[in-house]
Structure formats: structure tokens, C-alpha cells
Amino acid sequence: MMSSEPMQATAAPVEAAPAAKPDHPMRETLKIFLKNRSAAGGLILLGLILFATIFGPAIYGVDPYEMVWMPLSPPGDGTPLGTDYIGRDILAGILVGGRVTLIVGAVSAVMTIVIGLVVGSFAGFFGGRVDAALMKFTEFFQVLPSLLLAMVMVTIFSPSLGTIIFAIGIVGWAQIARLTRAEFMRIASLEYVKAARAAGARDGYLMFRVILPGSLPPIVVASALVTGASILFEAGLSFLGLGDPNQLSWGLIIGQNQNYLMDAWWTVTCPGIAIFLTVLAISLIGDGINDALNPRARKRG
């Protein structure tokens, strides 16, 4: 019988093996992200697109507003991607138009995310009446038909870049707000938040230093989707003729050439492919971030 043998009688120091080198959760995430092939592909694709829109026009050197060749001439016949209905070079248009498309997409996505984050975090953190009021407000924006609202706004105010960005930003934030609120509520109920409060933390510290970092992962993923959606939205508005006519963008090229789709497919298809690739790259990156943040296999804790 062994039970009579002396078993350690008092709290023996149990030493955590400090041998393992500290691995920040964020660094681990980055590693998993870079290992993911489609995410890395998305990152490279987006890099190429950014490079092309930033440096492309200077390298290519063709003026996109100038009539350079026969109208509606097919790709390879004098110009790499053909010309549009008044003989402007499509490739030059795509390279220059990308700037506006990407800027509108990015700026309105930032606006969407910031509004959503602020509304969602206050609603989620304070709960009760603050939450009820903010969520009513959010619901109002969520049920509005977003394209229609944007169209109305652009029609009322002049269709300038600013209006378009504002219109896209104002219609898309509700979803981010709901997500942020849910994450804030989930994390606020975790014991480490209570522990920080018990240790004397103020509201601001809890919101921005404790809860926000923990709730960012799903918000980052959603933000990637929002950016893609904003780009599509901009293209949609331009296609409907509600874009800024003075600013060349991918959507504008498609919109101006839509009547020639049957005779000159390249005029619409080429900028269409550019939009498709950009949104694809962004959503691949979003998926990659998602997988890196929630790997099922990652061990508990």
C-alpha cells in the first residue's frame, strides 16, 4: 500500500518552464497567415494592383483622356487592351481610374469602420439605455435600401468624390456596429474584464485598452469585406452614371461603354476584371486573417 508514503505536504513551488520563448499571440497569427497560400496570393495580387495604379500611369505614359487610336479597336490591334467608343486607351484608363476606385473604396471603408466601431463599442460597453438608443439608430440605417439612399444623396448633392465617399460610408456602417457591439458584450462579460475593473480600471481604460484589442479580430475580417463592398459600390454608382464624371474610375469606364458591350466586349470586360481581381484579393486576405485568428487546431488558451 502506497498511501502511507510521504507525498509533498505543503505548497511546493511549481515552476513554469520559462524555457519556451514568449510568443506573442499576434506574432503567431502572422505566422499562420503567411503560411496560408491563398492569403499570401491575395496579398501579392493586391500588391501588384497597388503598384500598377500608383506607378503604372507614369510607366505606361499614355494619356487616358486623349483619343489615341481608332474607336472600339480590339486588344492587340494597336493598343494592349483596345480602345473605347471615342478611341481612348483602355489600359491607360484602368491604370489611372484605379486610383479613384481604390481611394474611394478605402476612404469610405475607413469611414464605415470608424462609425461602426464607435457606435458599436459605446452600445456594447454601456448597455441599457445607451445601447437601446444606439441600436434603434443603427437599425434605421440598416433597413434603408443602401443603394437607393446613396443614389438619392448623390443626386441631391453634386456627384463629387466627397459626396460619393460620404454616401458609401453612411450606408454601410450598421453591420460593423452590430458586430462590434456583440463582441464588446461578449468580452465585457469575461472575467478578465471584471478583474481589471476590480483592480481599479476606469471605463476608458476598459473600453480601449482591455476590450477593444480583444474584439478586433472579427472586426478586421469584416473590414476587409467592407472594403471590397465599397469598391463594388463605387463601381455600381459610376455604372449608373452617378459617379463623378470628371474623375476617371473603373466603374465610369464600364458605365460609359455599356452600350458597346455587344460590339466591343473589351471595353467593359477589362475594367470589370480589374474590379473582380481587386475584390478577390481583398477577400482572400480577409479569409486568411480569419483563418489565422481562429485556427480550430490552436490549443485551448
Binding site: 500500500m1 502506497m2 508514503e5 507525498m7 509533498q8 505536504a9 511549481v14 487546431a297
Partner: protein
Amino acid sequence: MTGTPFLEVRNLTVEMKGESGAIRVLDDVSLRIERGRTMGIVGESGCGKSMTALAIMRLLPPGFEITAGQVLVEGEDITRVPEARMRALRGNDISMIFQEPMTSLNPVFTVGDQIAEAVKQHQGLDAGAAEQRAIEMLKAVQIPGAEARLHAYPHEFSGGMRQRVMIAMALACQPRLIIADEPTTALDVTVQAQIFALMRELQQETGTAIMLITHDLGAVAELADDVAVFYAGKRIESGPAGAILRHAAHPYTSGLMSCTPRLRLSAAARDGAAVLREIPGMVPQLGRMPQGCRFAPRCPLADDRCRSVMPPDVEVGPAHAAACWKAETEVMA
């Protein structure tokens, strides 16, 4: 016991296939569960208790695989039978009750439908007979107003009631073995006592065997005929419950015994002298198993042989085996 037991697990090894090669989760585990008896499986968290149950049910999570050994149900090795045979076995002969009664019932169907569905599938009863059986089962697990509760949804039941429903479902097809994986961990002590009393009563009526997974030696004393103690993926001691609880041969088992606080109903409540004994340190991590005996780093008796050579299972009493170099035969009183 002689003859073939209902369930025999022989040298079962389960591995997890990962990026960095295979990691052993269960190593050479052997068990015998006799008909109509209760086998308690004890051990600390992460020692492979649930894995053993899942391997027997052939419900291992993706990435896990039985790489050696056999699981014999009345002599038939089920590690290799086709999935269709397994489905017939699961429900009909072996059923399982999980720890978390909240998530193991489907929230969108009524309780009655879920029990009836199980009976229809496995026993080929028609709808009327299945519903009748569902009512019988709810009555058997002492749910008041069974007829009315038949049409209730799981969320309308408390935790204890849900666990009763799980037991009703597990029993509905009259299985010959019920695997209960920590069936009362999520419940209050008074409710746990009810569930244990119910399980005993039902076992006496139906003669089903029970494999009770728990980390509570008190639960083992209450319900089990036989016990298997797990440590770090190995079964390190097994035998009749009485023998193990009174003459633990493995230092891990006796360590568990001495670190369980006992309720003492006397005036000598908190005397400073009676310090609980501890098992220092913690269970080794998967894939970082020590050479030799896995318990050696925490064992007060360990010597160089323990640290270098894995001890074999030794017979220490009738049907009582322990894997420890220092295990002594239980002869003395």
C-alpha cells in the same frame, strides 16, 4: 471473471496526426467491461478518458486515428468493421451520454421527437409505438408529467432535467453498454445525487453495463464495480473498485486519494494539522512525455529505473493490475 466480457479494449493506441508528426494520445490501453457491471474511468483532465470513449464509439475527432490495438464487442473487433455496422452498434448496443446537457440535445426538436426518432431508427418501431416508448422512458427517468413534457423543447428544461432526457434517450434502445462521460460535472450536488441514484436503479432494472468517466473518486466509490485509472494517455491501474480505493497500488492513485478533501461531520472542523497532501507538478504535455514512467517526475517513490524504463502492468491482486515498478502485492490487511 471468465468468458468473453461485453467489451474488451486491447492495447489500444490512438494518435493525432499533426504537422510535426504523430502524437500519441492513448498508449497501449487495455480494459474489460463485464456485462451488467459499472466500470469507472478516473484521471486528471487531459489524460485521455474521453478519447477512449470516442475511440470505442469510433467517433474520434478528425485527425485522430486508432493506430494499434483492438476494441472487441462480444469478441467482434469493431475497429475494422464497416461504418454501417458501427451505426447499428451505436444506438442499439452502445450509447453515450455527454458532459454538457445543453449542447447535446438538438434545440429545434421537441424532447419527445428526439427520443422517438432514436427508437424509430434503431428499433424500427412505428410512430405511435415510438411515442409510447418515449413516454415510458421519460417516466423511467422520473420526469414529472411525462406526457405533457413530451412536447417541450430542450430549453424549457433545467440542466438536471436535460441530463435525465439524455439518459432516457440513451436507454430508449435498451443498449447493453452506456458510456457516460462526466454526466454530472455541470450539475449541482443535490441533482448529481439524484442522477446517480437513478442510474443505479435503471442499471438494476435493465442490466446494462455502464462506463462512467469521472474525475471524482467519490463518484467511483458510489457507482463502480471496477475502476481503471488513467494518467497521461496510459491506463496505469485497474481492478475491482473496492481493492483500488482501499489498497491503491499505483502512487498516482494513492496520490489522488490523499489529495481529495473529505467532508468530516464532527466538531474537529478545521484543524491546522490536517494538511491535504498534494501531487506536486502537473500532467506532462502531449508529445512531451518523459521517458520511463510517465508519472515519475511527480512521484515521491521514483528512482532511476522509473525515470528510464516504462514499467509494465503487474498483477498485484485478483484482477488488479498496476503499471508501477514499486507496486506491491495487496496481501496485508
